[in-house]
């Protein structure tokens, strides 16, 4: 049942619409749309292509050779990055993976609980609770992060892993997505049948509803993983010990130092290239069984 919704949405990932045309029509390519999209792809891929090429250049080549000409310094750059402050870059990458992995997992669990409750139960204050949770989206992150910092400072928790992890567990958008998926994937009569069989509410959730919600929860996990991986502001405010920095903050401090010493530019560029690699690989891998449409709350094609 649960995979059905995804399977239906999956063809949207690639197939060209319009099956009613004759064989002569099918061979013709719509030139304007195809070219427009290709131009769009060139625009979005340009900086990515640049960073891939620039990361192969040595410091000298970076300023002397044409931008899109590959250089010879990639292994040298990697070695420099590895040597920089005893390999602090890899610590940053590990931290990012830790924050994003654990944070997204907890966030998905909280979203699943909340979304399931909001979608399948009729109870007093349901819409109010949902709207209040959603209003969290409207709060500018700086406005939350500064008092969060001051309060965590009172508790002696700033500059710790927890200070970056905890504020990111509740995701209003995650709850919103989870509610939509739960409403679409978990039929009321299945929950009712579970009750008739004498199963507890918790058991109905874990054994019946949760497996049906898996595709939607994968989406919430990915969304939150990307959000935490890309977050800069919260660690920027919370952390001062660079051993706890995630990649975004680490690269920023590297760039800040690099503005005085161009020799660090190659480190920043190589670091930026390695920082986008994991997420691009992640998206290419999950493409096989997961559709982008799910990210916008699509449940059926």
């Amino acid at each position: 049942m649960s995979t059905l919704a995804v399977r239906e949405a999956a063809p949207a990932a690639g197939t060209t619409p319009g099956t009613t045309q004759g064989p002569g029509w099918r061979r013709r390519i719509a030139l304007v749309p195809t070219l427009t999209l290709l131009l769009g792809a060139v625009y979005t891929l340009l900086p990515v292509a640049w960073v891939v090429i620039a990361s192969t250049k040595s410091g000298h080549e970076l300023f002397s050779t044409f931008t899109f000409l590959p250089g010879t310094g990639f292994t040298g750059n990697l070695r420099d990055l590895d040597a920089y402050r005893d390999g602090v870059y890899w610590t940053w990458m590990g931290n990012s993976a830790l924050y994003a992995g654990i944070g997204a997992l907890l966030s998905t669990a909280v979203s699943a609980f909340s979304g399931y409750a909001l979608a399948t139960y009729r109870f007093k204050g349901r819409e109010t609770m949902f709207n209040v949770l959603l209003a969290g989206v409207l709060m500018p992150p700086v406005i939350l992060a500064i008092p969060q910092y001051l309060l965590l400072a009172e508790a002696g928790l700033t500059d710790s892993y927890l200070s970056v992890l905890m504020p990111q567990i509740l995701s209003p958008y995650g709850v919103y997505l989870a509610r939509i998926y739960a409403a679409a994937a978990v039929p009321d009569d299945v929950v009712e049948a579970g009750r008739m069989d004498g199963a507890s509410e918790w058991r109905i959730f874990t054994r019946i509803a949760l497996p049906m919600m898996v595709p939607g929860m994968v989406t919430v996990f990915l969304f939150q993983f990307v959000a935490i991986w890309n977050n800069f502001l919260l660690p920027f405010i919370m952390l001062s010990d660079d051993e706890k920095f995630p990649l975004t903050l680490g690269l920023y401090t590297l760039l800040e130092q690099g503005s005085n010493t161009p020799a660090l530019y190659t480190l920043v560029i190589t670091g930026a290239f390695l920082a986008v690699l994991p997420l691009i690989v992640l998206f290419l891998v999950v493409q096989r069984f997961w559709s982008l449409d799910l990210l916008s709350g699509a449940v059926k094609s």
């Binding site: 990932a13 060209t16 045309q21 099918r26 390519i29 719509a30 195809t34 427009t36 999209l37 769009g40 792809a41 979005t44 891929l45 340009l46 900086p47 990515v48 300023f63 931008t67 399931y116 139960y121 349901r126 609770m129 209040v132 949770l133 989206v137 409207l138 500018p140 700086v142 406005i143 500064i146 008092p147 001051l150 905890m166 504020p167 567990i169 509740l170 009750r195 507890s200 990307v226 890309n230 800069f232 502001l233 405010i237 990649l247 975004t248 903050l249 690269l251 800040e256 503005s259 530019y265 920043v268 930026a272 986008v276 997420l279 691009i280 493409q287 916008s296 709350g297 699509a298 059926k300």
Partner: protein
């Protein structure tokens, strides 16, 4: 509580609250409490007696609306708001225009390479804002920029992309690059949910693809356009990462370029958390007013359309 029959309905009734407990606790701790604390701080100030030395010389006292009057009269905050307004006037229309264009193109008949281009245009979503600003920052930097290289070879003048008017375009471009793909997916998803029969009649009547797009498809996806517009405005008001990251590359981005950067600067640069709290509260109120105003206007239009 003792007999299973009486526990049953209680369990069902209490269950949703149980499931919502973690979210409620987190909301109270990391949303409600900090917001309340910020509002409280915004009405406080530091009172310094004498030279401000010694343990008892500094104390927190009630400030009334003092911090708010100061925030209203702060020209730098206003200038920041105007800068962000100018920036938003470029980002939102261009980004959503491109997102709509790409979504319509993806949805057209006989388009080729759609899976590849769709993924490519979406790709910047997976690139952290800091890294995006960093990549474009280097592409703007005259020493390494391919644009400057080409212009130089052609003997044309090279505009400094990191200063003055072009700086707005340079910053806007980073936001457009990062945000178009996600919005394209949202619009495209809602385009695909329109049943094909809707277009068939128009096609039989000889409508061109352009006419179908303008007269049928765009009105059909209006709700998702409203939604993306709404979220884009909110994201624009909150711009922080991109100008902060560009700052090391240029002197034209001040530490108070956007209102949120000013809040950060006041809180941690000047250590005046009270002014920062007042400014933050002000920005939050403006955001909420704009949001509700916009949603109400959108609702009213919906009702008018329905009444027609």
């Amino acid at each position: 509580m003792t007999s299973p029959t009486s526990r049953r309905p209680y369990g069902v009734k209490g269950a949703p609250y149980g499931f919502l407990l973690p979210a409620t606790l987190l909301f109270a701790l990391f949303f409600a409490l900090p917001i309340g604390y910020a509002v409280w701080l915004s009405f406080r100030k530091m009172h310094v007696s004498g030279l401000g030395l010694g343990a008892g010389a500094r104390s927190e006292v009630w400030a009334g609306a003092e911090n708010y009057t100061a925030a209203f009269q702060d020209s730098e905050l206003l200038n920041g708001a105007l800068r962000v307004l100018g920036y938003g006037c470029v980002v939102v229309p261009v980004m959503l225009g491109l997102a709509l264009l790409f979504a319509l193109m993806l949805d057209s008949d006989r388009v080729r390479l759609a899976p590849f281009t769709r993924l490519a245009i979406f790709l910047p979503y997976a690139v952290p804002g800091v890294v995006a600003a960093l990549l474009w920052g280097f592409l703007y930097l005259p020493d390494v920029s391919p644009f400057s290289f080409v212009l130089d070879r052609l003997g044309l003048p090279q505009p400094d992309l990191l200063d003055g008017g072009p700086l707005y375009l340079a910053l806007s471009n980073i936001a457009v690059w990062g945000g178009t793909g996600f919005n394209m997916i949202v619009i495209y998803t809602s385009l695909r949910s329109v049943p094909a029969e809707v277009y068939e009649a128009a096609k039989l009547d000889g409508a061109t693809p352009l006419q179908i797009a303008l007269r049928i498809k765009i009105p059909m996806v209006a709700p998702s356009l409203v939604l993306t517009f709404f979220f884009s405005i909110i994201a624009t008001l909150q711009v922080f990462n991109e100008p902060t990251t560009l700052k090391p590359l240029t002197n034209s981005v001040s530490t108070t370029w956007s209102p949120l950067m000013k809040v950060y600067q006041d809180a941690f640069g000047r250590n005046d958390i009270y002014s920062a709290a007042a400014e933050a509260t002000l920005i939050a109120v403006v955001t909420l007013l704009l949001s509700f105003g916009f949603l109400r206007a959108a609702n009213r239009r919906d009702k008018q359309e329905a009444a027609r």
